[in-house]
């Protein structure tokens, strides 16, 4: 069985019910004793965590705690940076994403990512969303149009841009740009969406729209979101993980973690009593 056969297995629609509590079946993503370093600086220590399918997992913690680095190990974005090193395992379902036979391009197509700063390409709105399918080899104009329209609708951007598909994406507002980036990721037909503080640069109204969108998307996708904003984590996530100084301090159901944290450090952080 090849890697793409493995990752292209999709569960049937009846599985896709929203859930409040993480389930105990095979997790969608998992890390086992993951350590990670940039050159001589180790930034992650022995992180083991399971991320269930079709749920939202929030990664919280102070700046520099390693949560963004942790997010980027799943789609191997850290490969781009020179001199990185890791030990331990990163699994997508049962596949080791760092295994030599895994194609990083195929991996990233399955695990999409949305960044803190919206990064529309300096092209038209249509071309931005069609980018992924195009490079993947879909040339058929009708098919592309269909994918673009569907993705924009999924990202709740369709009504705002349907009459200006050929305008530059740079002309959109910040919140629209971020939803465009989400649409662009959706057009790639991923299973997992990683979000690195997707709303931190946006105004409250745009943030609320992104949060609604995340709530909507978790019906079909597994979402991992890094956030600085604890209210946001509490609002959108099913599971929350607290990182501190490169270690995973605590992980659990969001309500449980926020109301009855097991660890002292977690409690200090979520109550704002942090040094």
């Amino acid at each position: 069985m090849s890697f793409s056969d493995l990752v292209h297995h999709r569960p049937s629609p009846e599985d896709s019910r929203a859930k409040d509590v993480p389930k105990s079946e095979t997790p969608k993503l998992e890390t086992q004793q993951l350590c990670f370093s940039y050159g001589p600086t180790q930034v992650l220590f022995d992180v083991s965590m399971k991320i269930p399918e079709k749920s939202v997992t929030a990664l919280i913690g102070p700046s520099g705690c390693g949560k963004s680095t942790y997010l980027r190990v799943f789609n191997r974005m850290n490969d781009i940076i020179e001199g990185t090193h890791h030990t331990g395992k990163v699994l997508l379902e049962t596949i080791d994403v760092n295994a030599p036979e895994v194609d990083v391009v195929a991996l990233r197509k399955r695990i999409g990512m949305v960044f803190q700063k919206s990064t529309p390409f300096p092209k038209s709105i249509f071309d931005n969303v069609a980018y992924g399918p195009r490079i993947a080899g879909t040339r058929n104009k009708k098919e592309l149009t269909e994918i673009v329209h569907r993705s924009l609708k999924q990202a709740a951007l369709w009504e705002e841009v349907k009459n200006r598909m050929n305008e530059s994406a740079l002309a959109l507002s910040g919140g629209q740009q971020q939803r465009l980036c989400i649409a662009r990721t959706l057009a790639n037909d991923p299973d997992v969406i990683l979000m690195d503080e997707p709303a931190s640069a946006l105004d409250p109204a745009s943030t609320a729209r992104i949060e609604d969108l995340i709530f909507e998307l978790k019906k079909n996708y597994t979402i991992v979101i890094v956030t600085h904003n604890m209210q946001q984590a509490a609002r959108v996530s099913d599971q929350t993980a607290f990182f501190y100084e490169g270690r995973l301090i605590e992980v659990g159901g969001t309500r449980a973690l926020f109301t009855k944290p097991k660890e002292k450090q977690t409690e200090d952080y979520i109550t704002g009593r942090f040094g």
């Binding site: 789609n75 974005m77 781009i80 020179e82 391009v105 195929a106 991996l107 990233r108 197509k109 999409g112 990512m113 960044f115 700063k117 990064t119 390409f121 300096p122 092209k123 980018y131 992924g132 195009r134 490079i135 993947a136 740079l170 980036c181 662009r184 990721t185 790639n188």
Partner: protein
């Protein structure tokens, strides 16, 4: 309130201690003299431009005093439409087309070689090469840029034509390759502009924000997809600007072309024939004994003016495009 209307203001003035009062001093005069001298230095660059334009215009468009300028004796129509350039012969023709043709033939060959190779190596340096490789390669390209053009001329004549063009195009493909030819000149001018295209384009490629590249990779792009579909389109205006500068440089290049392309003003598209460019005509005339005031002397200025206008227009265009590019990313 104006200080003069207020008697207390003068009072304040009187109360200013002598040590803080503004007073005449040699030091202040010196400061101002220095500032003025430095200003004159800066003004010299404007004066140079004015000088160039004045010199070119008075000898070619509007004569000063009794002397007639080039275009007062030759009509612009003849200059632009006649297909022969023979100022030194008995039967004189002043058609700039053969010189323009020669110039653009050489510059075209140079562009064909220098632009893609320069751009590809810029992509290599900015997207593919490790920092160590980049640190090795960039100084080498700088050396290439620092070699005097007369050396490239020698290289064209002594190496490119006999050891590269003749074996391939004459012995193998059956073209007639003359000793002086446009191709060899074009090739060495192409090599000459590689470092320029490469370093200017690399600067614009590296100015593309890192976030765009990451977004590209996160969408499942290969390095090729990111380079060609994200980074290159995002920096296209900067690249165009560098291309324009490089072509302007190729058009104004003189010594390599004078040595390698020959001295035959011919309207031809055959790269293996000898051609004369605008620059090599200027050199050729000034090497000979040309009496001041003669038509061939004046033709120098007419050709130089043409050359100046073409390169200036390209430089200007390049700067405008570059400013657009900076507005997007800086």
């Amino acid at each position: 309130m104006r200080p003069l209307d207020n008697p207390s203001a003068t009072n304040v003035d009187k109360q200013t201690p002598r040590s803080l009062a503004r007073k005449f001093s040699l030091q202040r005069v010196r400061e101002q003299a220095i500032a003025f001298t430095l200003f004159l230095c800066a003004l010299l660059s404007i004066l140079t431009t004015v000088g160039i334009i004045y010199v070119l215009v008075t000898e070619s468009i509007m004569g000063v005093g009794e002397s007639k300028a080039f275009f007062q004796e030759v009509s612009l129509k003849e200059f632009l439409t006649d297909t022969q350039w023979t100022p030194q012969y008995q039967e004189k023709h002043y058609g700039v087309l053969p010189l323009l043709g020669g110039t653009f033939l050489v510059a075209g060959i140079a562009a064909l070689i220098g632009l893609p190779i320069g751009l590809f190596s810029a992509v290599y340096l900015s997207e593919y090469a490790s920092p160590r490789a980049r640190n090795c390669i960039k100084p080498i390209l700088e050396i290439l840029a620092g070699i005097p053009t007369v050396v490239y001329g020698y290289f064209a004549l002594v190496f490119v034509t006999p050891y590269l063009l003749k074996p391939i195009f004459q012995d193998w493909l059956g073209f007639e390759v003359s000793v002086f030819n446009a191709a060899s000149a074009g090739i060495v001018v192409g090599i000459m502009i590689i470092p320029m295209v490469s370093s200017l384009s690399e600067d614009t490629l590296r100015a593309v924000p890192r976030g765009l590249r990451e977004a590209g990779y996160a969408l499942g792009s290969t390095k090729f997809d990111v380079s060609v579909r994200v980074v290159l389109p995002a920096s296209i205006s900067g690249i165009l600007a560098s291309f324009l500068l490089a072509i302007a440089r190729a058009i104004g290049e003189t010594m390599a072309v004078t040595i390698a392309a020959g001295q035959t003003p011919a309207l031809t598209m055959n790269p293996f024939e000898s051609v004369q460019t605008m620059t090599s005509y200027i050199v050729n005339v000034s090497l000979g004994d040309t009496p001041v005031g003669s038509m061939s002397y004046k033709s120098l200025y007419a050709i130089a003016l043409t050359l100046f206008c073409i390169t200036l227009a390209m430089n200007f265009l390049s700067q405008i495009i570059m400013r657009r590019f900076r507005e997007v990313y800086e």
